[in-house]
Every structure is written in C-alpha cells, then in structure tokens.
Symmetry: C2
Subunit: 468 residues, 2 copies
Amino acid sequence: MRERGYGMFVHFGMNTFIEMEWSEGKEPATTYNPTELDCEQWVRTARDAGFRYVLLVTKHHDGFCLWDSRVTDYDVASSGNTTDVVKAVSDACRKYGLEFGVYYSLWDRHEPSYKAADFSGYRQFMDEQLTELLTNYGTVCEIWFDGGWDRKAEDWDIPHIYELVKRLQPDCAMGVNNSAYLAESNLSENIYGSAGPDEMTGKHAVKFGYFPMDFRLKDPYIANWNDNKIYNIDGEDHYLPFEHTICLSKKWNWFQKQDVMETRDIDELEELFYRAMANNNTLVINVPPDRRGLFRQNEINALMELRDRVGINQPNKKLMHKMVEKPISLGCRAKASSEWDANEYGADRAFDGGLYHRWASKEKTGWLEVELDREKTFERISIFEYMDEALASDGFTRKRVNRIEEYTIDAYNNGKWETIYYSTEPMGDCKVINFATPQKAEKLRLNIRGAKEAPSIYEFSVYEHKAK
Amino acid sequence: MRERGYGMFVHFGMNTFIEMEWSEGKEPATTYNPTELDCEQWVRTARDAGFRYVLLVTKHHDGFCLWDSRVTDYDVASSGNTTDVVKAVSDACRKYGLEFGVYYSLWDRHEPSYKAADFSGYRQFMDEQLTELLTNYGTVCEIWFDGGWDRKAEDWDIPHIYELVKRLQPDCAMGVNNSAYLAESNLSENIYGSAGPDEMTGKHAVKFGYFPMDFRLKDPYIANWNDNKIYNIDGEDHYLPFEHTICLSKKWNWFQKQDVMETRDIDELEELFYRAMANNNTLVINVPPDRRGLFRQNEINALMELRDRVGINQPNKKLMHKMVEKPISLGCRAKASSEWDANEYGADRAFDGGLYHRWASKEKTGWLEVELDREKTFERISIFEYMDEALASDGFTRKRVNRIEEYTIDAYNNGKWETIYYSTEPMGDCKVINFATPQKAEKLRLNIRGAKEAPSIYEFSVYEHKAK
C-alpha cells in the first residue's frame, strides 16, 4: 500500500446527474444517463497523471450500483446507460497497468432491507454485493467502506466483513471511513488518533470504532507530520497507515454537477502530496466524471500540472517518499505578538505539525515567530491560513476568503531582522514560497501588516530542502 | 547591445535618504550617508542573478553626483560617505565580468548655471561631467540620458553630446529617454513610434525628439510584439532597438525608501523578460540599494527566482532571444460579448501585441474570444488585466486592484466549448497559465463570470511553446 501511494478517487453515479450532493435513493434509475461514457479516458488520465491506482465509487449512500447487481434493480442495468462501469474501469486498469480499488457505502438509502427491524437481511445483501465486487472484477487492491455512522458500529459486523474480504481477495487492504475515531476512550473529543488532526506519539492502547482493518481513514482530515502508525489494539501492535482523501475541486464537491468546478490551487495539492509521501501515508484525489461520463479538461490540466510539479511524470517512476523531509520548524519554540487564547490558539499551534489546531491573533496586525536551528538553511516555506466563508458573486455558492492582506517574512540573523519576502496578495488555500538560494535564520517571523479580521494560521512550515 | 540584453538598473543617491521620489537639489550633501555601503554586493548580486550589465544612476534630477566631480561640490566627496560609487561599481563590474553603463540626468535642479539666462554655461558643465564619467572609469557600454523634457529638445544640443560620447567611448551606445517621442509628426499623440505603446510596421519617416542616438528609450512603456526597429531619419535607415526600463518594485519606486518594498510578481517579470528577448530588445530592471547601501534580501530573492524561471542560471549562458516565439494569437480575429467603445476599446485591442490599448467590456460579465489556427497547439497563456487603484491598508499607499473575480478559459473544438482553466483568484499584475500538455482550440475564450467593475484586458497572449 505504501508503494501504491498515490490514487485517483472516482465519484460517479446518481449524484452526478442531480444538483444535490447526496441523493436519497428515490431518483429513478434512469436519471443516471451518461451520454459519452468512456471509462478508458478516466484510467488513461490517471496513468498519464502519475496515479498508481483508481479507487472507484461502486455504490454511494443512495444505493445506486455502478455494476449489474443480482440483488437489486437500482443499478446501471436498469438505467439510461447499461455499461457495467466496475467492469469497464477494472478492465481499463489492467490495460493501463494500474491497480484497482473499490469504494462501497455501508449506508444504503434505497435498499428496503436496510430499514427492516431485523438488520440481518441487509447484512446478507451486503455479503452478496461484496462477493460480486470481489469475485467478478479481477484483483482488487483496496476496499474503502463509508457511511458507517448511520448505525451503531457493531451493527455492521466488521470482523465478518473483514473475513469475507480476505477470503475473496487475500491481498486487498481494507479501510473504514472514520475508523480513526476512538469509540471508547477518555481522551478529549479533539483527539482522533493520529489519523485525525492531532498528534499521538509512541504506541497507544486505543480501541478503534471499526476493527479489524488495514489502514486508517478519516475523511477529510490531513495527518499530522508526526503521524503515529503503530497502535496497540487488544494487546497487539498494528501498523496502520493513513489514507488521505481530498477533492480536486476547491469547493469539496465529490460529484460533478452541471457547472464546471474550480480545482484547488496546485500549491496546495503539491504540499499535501509531499505531506503524504514524506509521512509514508497515501494520498487519494477525487476526480469526478461529468454527465457525459468524461473528465473535464480543466481538471485534467490541473492533474498534469501537479504531476510535473511533484516530478512523477515518468510512468512507473517510484514515488519518492522522502522527496521532502519534515519541516525544520516542527515543534520549535514559538511566540506571537498576541494570542486569542493561550491554551487553544497559542503560537505553538502553528508549528505542531497538524492542520487542525491553529494560532490566532487577538489583533488585526501582529507577528508569529519561531526559533530555528541556526545551522540549518531552508529553501521553502508553506503557510496554511484559516479562512472565512463568503458568498460568491453568483449569490449562493460559498467561497473561502483570506483574512491576511499584507505580510512579510522576516529573518533574524546576527541581531537584526531582515525581510526576505513581501506580499500584498492573498495566500489562497495554501501559500508556498520557494527560495532560489538557501536562506538562513536564527529566528523566522511572519509579520502581518494588514488583515480584514484577526489572522489565524493552521500551520507554518519551514523546509530545509526544496521538493523534487 | 542585443547580446547584452539583460541589465540591472541601480537608482541610488540623495533620494534614497528622503521620503520623496524626486528631491529638488536642496537637501544638504550630508543627507546622503550610507552606513554599510558595499557596491560589490550589488554587482555580485547582478552577476548571480544573470544580468549582463549594471546601469548606474550617476546623477539624478537633484544634481547630486555619485562621484567626486571637479565642477560641483554637490557630490559624494562632500557627503556623509565619500566613497566614489561610480568607481566602486565600475571596478566591481570588471571584477565580476559584467559590463558597466551610466545613467546621467540632463535636468539638474541643483546646479546654478542650469537656470542662468545663458544656457551655454550648463552645457559646458555637462561636457565636463560627461568627460569625467567617460574618461575615468574604464569602458562604458551604454549611456542613458534622462530629464530632457524640462527644456526644449534643441537646448541640449544632442548632436554635440553624441559626438563627445563617441569620441571618448567609441563603443558606448547612447539613448535619451522619451527619444521615441515624435517631436514633429502628423500622427496622433498616442503614436510614440514603436518604442512606445503602438505598433508601427515597415519603415517610417519620422523625426525623433532627440537625435542622433543608438537605441530608443521611453520609460516605462513596453514595446509592441511587432516592434519596428528600422526608422528612416533624414533619408537614412537606422536600426534602433528599444531598451525596456522597469522597476523590481511593484509600486514603481525607483529609489529605495525607509520601508521595505514589495516586488512585482515573478509571473509578470518573466513575461516581460520573454517579450524583450523574443523581440530582440533589451530589458533593464531597477534594483535600488537601501540606506545601508545594500540590496534588500527580499529583492535579491525575487531576482534569483526570476533567474531560475527564465533559465539563465548558468553564468555567461547566452540569452536565448528565441526562448519564446511570438504569440499565435497576435492579430487574430477577435470578438467580445460587448465593447465599451468599438473604436477605442474593441476586442481586437487585446490581441494587438501591445500593452497600451485594451479591450473594455460594457458589462461586468462577458467574454472575449479569439480565432486561432486550428493546426497549432498551445501551452501557455498570459493575461494583462487593466486594474484600478485603491488605498492600501496603511491608509495612504496606493495599490492596484483587479476587477475580475471569477473567470474561465474555454476552448472551442468540433462544435463545442469546453473549459480548460477556471479560477476565482485575482490575476495580479499579469496572469500566466501554463499547461503541462499541449492544448488545441479553433477558438479560445476568456469568460468572465464575475467582476467588481466592467473588466478590461490590455493583452491576451496565447503561446505555442512553453518558455525555456
């Protein structure tokens, strides 16, 4: 799984054809009707963009199946386009040399047995469907379960599902979304295992919500730089890497809609890629086909740009897990001109390695400072700013708005501060500053000269080496 | 001069030490007082950043001289730091293998003879100073005259100055700012020769404001892609390249002030670099030392980043004049959803190759479209948007604000439009979109989905090949 590293998530199905993120299983099957469906285009794009596997949504919460399932009519066989998408994608993966993975929603808003008093009927329904998926489509590298939150964790009988998966596909890695949630623990609610936002170092005796499993999932969190992968569960140590799942779309749309969607900044995608690789975790990016059944060109272009940025443009080139070392600023001593709350929003939060806690200023201007090892040079800084939401110009879409309007990066050397970078442009989702020559600093400071609201920083990372 | 191609302009002097762009020659000489003057740092930076020559301001309009001039006391010899800066810079240029050029202001707000009824006294004063500059500091590759507008063009006796320059430095290229201005012509005021914003194709019989000269200057204009270099003057053809002069500072500050200055976007600098190189013109970027007498680190960092972007990071590597071909969109048939005024602000203005005329929309949303040769692919688009000015957060500095808030780039192929790029981020001074794979379009469209004011585009350029 670590070698696989980088996967393309493909959300396609009923929700592609309606202006709603999660439909309720009530749309007629014929609503699903791609006019120019070409699953080879998806997989070819994945290969060209440097992905190692395709993770296909075979059934989302609405219950609509992208294959002809024997146990339901709510599937492609009854729809406007009867192509077995699971077959088409798995075949294309074999053709183009990629691995094939399966997403399956436990939660099913269409299937009547799901709501029956006796849940065993639905469990059997799932067994049938999973057997179809894991028997008829060749090797499945990974299975990704979602929607478990709609019922109590024990209702799903995860040990039984795990046994079924391993019996049918011994090498298939299994994960359950939100598995990193600690069902029983005396830790505070903010502690989601290191799969989530917070750091947990060393071994911890934890009970995961869903177990057994092979890797942790907690969409859409980003693992801490110090992500701990060894968990002691019922007296046994388990190595559980984390699979990051993010949208290519800036608006966190998993399914394509009528209108074209803006992609995330390449800077942000690049930074998250390095975080996953350097951390020995995996990154999965969702690229949803549109109503034609094709990827949109602006999204393809973004993927290829990312490919060139991170340097995986040669097919079959090994992912360089160590292309970026961890930041030299990680856990370093920090201070700030002001803190909204010293416990929750202290300066150290911006250097804790995680994208969950953040430093927040009390004032609209001010500075955030970190002490560095004076022997180490750096060539790259990345900044994740906390953003507000606002209405977009169309009057209903929400967009993210940066608070900081003007800032400098200052380096302290031999008793003097000097500005090494100055900008009056918004940072966007993630600001990356590359230096063409190595920089040195005993202390480094983000000096905020102007902001719309009191600024706040999730993470300020200083890297010794440039990526690639 | 064409081989030289890329020069560093250095504005340093009295104005560095006061919060005023142009002082009046009344500040005491002692106000000039750099505390850590290091001209070698300037030239070393120039060399490291890939510049081929340094163009030093030896005397600005205030009359203060950066060398010990025999004919005035308003110079470094009477100041707070008596270093002969002209000597220090020219020596450093020899040491680091760069050529050395001289800027000299004709206009002199300090020298008493300048205001005398008989102007011949000042002309003699100039002769003395120019003789000093062109005799005592080794080879001078270029001389750049400024401030001529303060008197009638004939007062300066340019033929005499030209003869003097050539006698003392036969290989020194001479230019006079605003020389591209047509002193006598029946062309409209907007036509500044092709040195200025407008295109002039073929040979033209023109009379330049200042002549003889070896190259055209008209700060701060950017030459048209179809820049004409052959002018018929008094019956003789002259090849007159254009030297672009731009500030590294975003705010068009020529001299450094107390506060650090933001540099222009590297995207914009890169685009202007290619325009100059591909056009066989030269580009000069102003990098002003601060009150210490040193370049600031944030400006050095921007120069090095630009160096890496344009690929001139090996010393003595030949400038690649052809690294970017002219845009394939140049002069192509264009239309728009609306035009503020069909004559002055028509759609074709955005494809005329110049950064002077522009398309302006009547509405806040709308599109600008160009027909392309369907046989040619493209990999790069650059957009220069017209911007408004607003007050910065400090309440007095003015900053430039983009109008366009949301836009797509759409390609038309086989009867269908498809979006190939989508952004909700401001374009900045210049927006460059690189495509990792070649794109194709019979027609290409900038579709503006949201803007603060009716949008306007100086230039929309589509390039077949990526730079480098």
